[in-house]
Symmetry: D2
Subunit: 287 residues, 4 copies
């Protein structure tokens, strides 16, 4: 029996970067959280502590800052593409790079004043082997709620099932979605428009779907995006069911027909699924 | 020497309540986090475990839910007033009640669809002795940033001072502000308008003040509110200085004139101050 | 009407410092989180942006690091005393300083290897006017649980009270306690022993008190400390009631006599109280 | 082009359960966080909202509580095995179940008094197809630090590399490790011993390895476990590099040879790798 090194990767996580564009009286800002992971012929450092093929995580951090200065940030998919391709070429040992960028939204309030707005975060992950690249865009922290238009009935019952069927419940979730672009150039020049459209399609499908289950809503959200956005090949959704329980007020002699709810923290349901085109290109190393 | 019980209070914290108003096709929701603390002649439970004067924290929770049903939530100041006055009268032993409400903002997207929006939270704290009430409104998590218009110079220097003077820096903070109303009825019927105006005055003062120090900005923000809102007697601000450090790119042969910054987590500066009218009524038990 | 500046303070928060003592083969480490606040004749920076009396928060941070090097850390009360006294004397405008130190516990595993152990954090806050000093020691995150020996009965009942009386419940809390020393020298040379004894007295009182209410347990814990530690004048306790609800298994045809509980997050009870000697010296500016 | 449902799963997350064993004067407790995910022939609920094959997540939660009552918790691997096998058989549509359990450590202080101790959490994940089962045990939050015995030199340099080589640095990490057992019965009857041994081997390898890189330490930790524990086939480690930067005190005229460090939050290095036997059985659906 020998002990062997298997899959491995390393990098710098959570590089917090603010980029200010001062090219006019009205500044623009980009507030990012960038993470880098590299892999390749890096066994030597694991097995013998030979670091000669190791690009330090400190240099990775410096590169992220320097590229923001040299190339600007622009759309986060473009910034991640630039970085991922650079890292693969930077050292012979590095044959794969993945760069993940989160962008926090700010609202402009004046020429140079901004308020952090919203809780949803735009995300992009680019994976590169040098020859090939894959772009995954996404959103997290998009918290949505329907105060009606949701039921949950007809489910299976076993010994431990006590849940009452309901024809009108609160449906609330914090959307985490990531969608794979058909090609790294599919939305080139239009990443912002593509993101904005996909985000809105998710929201609209959530709002417009009469829900028999959160699973059904999940599929409807994914399908809506794919039907309208040809540049997107596949979407993965993770939807926590943020339970809101109707408070039983009968002990106080009160009726409570869907008015006052207790918002629970834990446990929570968690529904996850992938929706894709049947002719989607292979995912390769996108995920 | 005897060991004695001093100041004490108890209550239920973080009651998470969603209230849905269904009186028209367009629902309205209120998403609240309510905390209650009571005090009074409650020494018996501490000293001998005699609970006969104790209103259980479970009943406090029930009361919050039941009042939402019976009276609606409306403006959080009104809801807290109703609850605080109720609790003081509920049992003879309870001579003081404080009710704190946080309201999370949601944006309407459809008749019954909502997205949680923004990170700022509206707050209200009502303190009551039965005869007297004090109302404090506020905001927290209002994250603001000026990308220019801020300098920091002319400060004292001691042996451990190494900071370079700057005539142009990022100024960023997450505003936590609480303001005391001159009377519990000062904005009655107009709590929402008062809150909205105060919040906007804080933002405008932050945006419009050329800043020599975050302290100066703090005072300007408080002063702006008091000059325009006669119903507000005093405001307390807590402003973390969310440092953004210019990245030194000289090792890579790059210049970086205020473009790329590293957003630091810790440590952070923390500036706190009270601004009030010189003729403000006594605060009593407001805080 | 004039708008005036009231109480104000500023400083650097959460300076994360690791100190390594290498004076023998067996290293020792201290892992601290230090926060500084200063106040005094500092109105000029608020009112006009004149920073000439401002000791920068950056210099405060440097001072904390430099003092760790020059004087070592030792007991955190001593380190905070040294810093607080220094800051009051550092600039004429600074008439009051408060230094709070949190210490994270590590367990030694070898000559120079350590594992972070436990969740409880030791705390110290020193307040100084130069002439006078006050020392408050404490603990937070000390999570305790009694699986029996706790009842809750005989409480008041109003319209909204539905809680069932219980003669056997789980009692769990995360102790946050802070105790004021009778004088800044009361435990001088013995801060570690004083802390350790107070912490153990809190735990023993929690374990040995048959509890009729968490309030009663709170007083018992405070009293126990004061009876045994003459150097401590007053103790303030904040005890969340971490509810564990017995799961009703009757729908599955099972009995559940105090065996399986659901650990709830929110809401939670919160019991707070001060216990002191009747002959305790005045607290001055300790809190 | 058709839009199709791909991989999907659902379940209840973070069921917080306290189990008390009262079979002697000395109680024992188990404090768990259990998450369940199921998959199988569940497309109907996604595609048409037909819930007839859906075991509700509420019933999953009930099952976890009921099984704790009926079978006790015991070792978390056994508890997860019991649950996973049950869920696969519970409904015809469910062909795969994964149960993850986290156990929080408590230290006994008396017959029925406990203190939550340590920050490391023991974990177990069992995956089951009914016919086959895979057991993965693990630990997270095991924070370790070497104050010497770590260097980082001889690394590659590119245009953006500015890091200075060091022959003596702090090495600190929060170990997250998961190890796959060779068979679901490999440590049957001895899960506790197996966990404890693996945990100690990780710690000892961290302590005893003179480190040229965190990668090298990672491999040494994994190898140590595999060399001594034949029941373990593979181990996956995720090691954040919790940076501690030596404070430059030259501006204050002080030398600081490895004594005072600033503990940084972000960014951090992140080293991840798999170590396995060359004759390890296939992982199947373990991960």
């Amino acid at each position: 029996m020998a002990v062997v090194l298997g899959a491995n990767q390393y990098g710098k996580a959570e590089i917090r970067l603010l980029h200010v564009v001062r090219d006019s009286a009205g500044h623009r800002i980009a507030d990012l959280n960038v993470s880098v992971t590299l892999s390749g012929e890096l066994a030597a450092t694991y097995l013998s502590g030979d670091n000669s093929a190791v690009l330090t995580t400190d240099a990775q951090k410096n590169t992220v800052f320097a590229f923001a200065k040299e190339h600007g940030v622009g759309e986060i998919e473009d910034f991640a593409l630039l970085l991922a391709r650079h890292f693969v070429g930077s050292l012979e040992a590095v044959s794969f790079a993945r760069v993940t960028v989160e962008q926090y939204p700010w609202e402009r309030l004046g020429h140079h004043t901004f308020a952090r707005s919203g809780r949803e975060v735009r995300t992009a992950t680019v994976s590169s082997t040098g020859a090939d690249c894959w772009v995954v865009s996404g959103v997290r922290g998009l918290t949505l709620l329907n105060s009606t238009g949701s039921e949950f009935r007809g489910f299976a019952r076993d010994r431990y099932t006590t849940l009452t069927e309901t024809s009108d419940r609160i449906l609330a979730t914090a959307v985490e979605a990531r969608w794979r672009h058909a090609s790294p150039a599919s939305a080139s020049g239009g990443w912002a428009e593509s993101y904005s459209a996909a985000r809105d399609l998710l929201v609209r499908a959530f709002a417009e779907t009469y829900s028999h289950s959160l699973q059904q809503t999940l599929f409807a959200m994914g399908e809506r995006v794919l039907r309208h956005r040809p540049e997107i090949a596949e979407i993965r959704l993770s939807l926590p069911n943020k339970h809101h329980f109707e408070v039983d007020m009968s002990p106080f002699g009160l009726d409570n027909p869907g008015e006052v709810f207790y918002a629970a923290d834990r446990p929570f349901g968690l529904i996850e699924g992938t929706v894709s085109r049947d002719d989607a290109p292979e995912p390769g190393k996108a995920w």
